[in-house]
């Protein structure tokens, strides 16, 4: 019995063999498990959505409370001035020595005009300690007029200070840090330019490591996906971009421009195949006669021919994109400053070329490009990026910057019809220079 008969017997026995199973129990379990998974997915979706909505609401809430000096309706400002008036009036009417108020309290953090705060920028933001004390007479224009009481003299007695910020998380007068201290940041930071909006242009280049996620969209393609993951190795990614920037004096900025990104992968594989070729006139027998004569018998002979291949090829994916980023610049008094930015990248063109194993398992890997085979898409839509920058002002106009960046390309480079999802995450660093106008 040869091995083919043996294998055919095993196949026929096992292929249609059914193991008895309670199908109703299987169905119940499947149904329950699917319901559980759906619940988990929706639960996390709900939690994430709620967190995002709460975050957005909270940010907007805080922004509406912390704005420019034009916040006359601010409840804290009212409270503080009311308390001040009350204290001064109390001091007056009770016949006790007249109180004098610290100027910072009298004007309150919210009512102070830009100039008065700018003058005191070398001092604490919230409590002034070395401003000369004002006598009650200095407050006269702000307070109701009254007649001096005979027998009493005026004395300067400081009132206990009213805290301008409280530790409560939801207290509106809480001392906010970046990016919500817009008033203080604007007033304290040395302004490089008087213009509220400023335009600059940048040229940058980046080198990133490439992480690829290639998976089959249906289980039948998983073996090919495994093979492709084994034979294709993502290498580095280069990126060059020209970006225009519109920056606001508050520190916020908007970047837009055009970028060129090239992802490189290495395809490497070796394989062999065996074919049987028939040699028509091969020597099949040698007969040596007793007398020494030799006879060669020829005839057809099957010869096994083994062919081996080894291929190494560098596949590339070239993307032309329009990046659009929003960011914030942390200003400093010196030449160094920091930036944080995030945004979306709109892909205009994808051009892919390379060699891969295709899903129908040919004898050799195929050469693919999105222009002829349709194996890759011509554009991939949106991807997302984020970056941190350290910037150094060489001159007033010229700035150097660099820092880590990350880009996530969730859209697949291959169409769904090919049964694969091929997405990327890039992380690395970039360097650039910016010219301010």
């Amino acid at each position: 019995m040869n091995s083919h008969e043996f294998e055919a017997h095993l196949r026929s026995q096992l292929h249609n063999h059914a193991t008895p199973v309670d199908t109703e129990a299987v169905w119940r379990n499947v149904k329950q498990k699917r319901r559980q998974r759906r619940f988990v997915v929706w639960f996390f979706f709900g939690v994430t959505l709620s967190a995002a909505l709460f975050g957005a609401w909270y940010t907007l809430q805080l922004r509406s409370l912390i704005t420019t000096p034009g916040l006359p309706e601010h409840p804290v400002a009212h409270t503080q001035t009311d308390m001040l008036s009350q204290s001064v009036q109390q001091a007056h009417t009770s016949g006790t020595p007249r109180a004098s108020a610290n100027k910072s309290i009298a004007f309150s953090n919210f009512r102070a005009d830009k100039q008065s705060i700018a003058e005191s920028k070398t001092h604490s933001r919230y409590v002034q300690t070395d401003v000369p004390r004002q006598s009650g007479n200095d407050l006269a224009p702000m307070l109701p007029q009254f007649e001096p009481i005979s027998g009493y003299s005026l004395q300067s007695v400081p009132l206990s200070r009213i805290p301008l910020h409280q530790p409560s998380f939801f207290a509106p007068e809480r001392a906010f840090s970046f990016p919500l201290t817009s008033v203080q940041t604007k007033l304290d930071a040395p302004s490089r330019s008087k213009q509220p909006l400023r335009f600059s242009i940048a040229l940058e280049s980046g080198l990133m490591a490439t992480s690829r996620n290639l998976e089959a969209l249906s289980p039948v393609s998983e073996s090919i996906a495994g093979l492709r993951n084994k034979t294709e190795q993502p290498l580095e990614t280069w990126q060059v971009a020209v970006l225009g920037r519109l920056s606001h004096s508050s520190g916020w900025f908007l970047d837009a421009g055009i970028s060129h990104t090239r992802l490189t992968e290495r395809f490497e594989d070796s394989w062999s195949s065996q074919t049987i070729e028939q040699i028509p006139d091969a020597i099949t027998e040698i007969i040596i006669q007793p007398g020494g004569d030799t006879t060669f018998v020829t005839g057809p002979v099957d010869a096994v021919v083994t062919q081996s291949w080894r291929i190494r090829h560098y596949n590339t994916h070239t993307l032309i994109d329009i990046p659009l980023n929003i960011g914030y610049r942390f200003r400093s008094d010196g030449k160094w400053s920091g930036e944080i930015q995030a945004g979306a990248v709109l892909n205009l063109v994808l051009n892919s070329q390379g060699i891969i194993w295709e899903s129908d398992l040919p004898q050799t890997p195929i050469e693919v490009s999105n222009s002829d085979s349709g194996f890759f898409r011509n554009k991939i839509g949106l991807s997302y990026s984020g970056a941190l920058n350290a910037t150094y002002d060489l001159t007033e106009q010229l700035v150097l910057y660099g820092g880590p960046q990350i880009r996530a390309i969730p859209s697949s480079l291959t169409p769904e019809a090919n049964d694969f999802s091929q997405s990327y995450t890039l992380f690395g660093a970039r360097l650039g220079c910016r010219l301010r106008f």
Binding site: E7, H9, L10, T19, W27, L227, R228, K230, W271
Partner: protein, 179 residues
Amino acid sequence: MTEQELIQGCQKGKSAHQRELVRRFAPILLTVCRRYVPDLPTAEDALQETFIRVFRHISGYKPSGSFEGWLRRIAVTTSLKLRKKMRFATEFPAEKAHLPETVLLPEVLPRLGAEEILRLIDGLPDGYRTVFNLSIIDGYSHREIAGLLHITESASRSHLARARKQLIQRITQQEKIML
């Protein structure tokens, strides 16, 4: 209900059709799962996971080949994934000395039933058993096996040859004991 109606119903997410699909194919797919995982309870888990994946992906099913073949492939990949998840490593025994060729007598085979064959295949070393099942029973090519098990094609061929020899030896030994 024809197979076409069954598929269309499942694609629309109809519960009755999904139930019918489970009823019709669970016994066959459980046999498939049993061949790739170490025990029956794990095979049942793999079966359950197989149906979950089937219902998730059936909307993208294109009727180009056999539907049962499509289901079998899902069962195979799901079982292999589950085994990997359970950290049940595929072990390939070290190369041993050359195994003697054993000739199987033709009259032996008809006496081997499906359960008996399953038991004999189960007795093979894990790596050999997986390659044997994938190649001989489920018809995967060596290239596909290499992709699934992360081994080379030549390793797959050699494991298959060794699995075949060991299985024939086991059958012969069993026959001798019976006689």
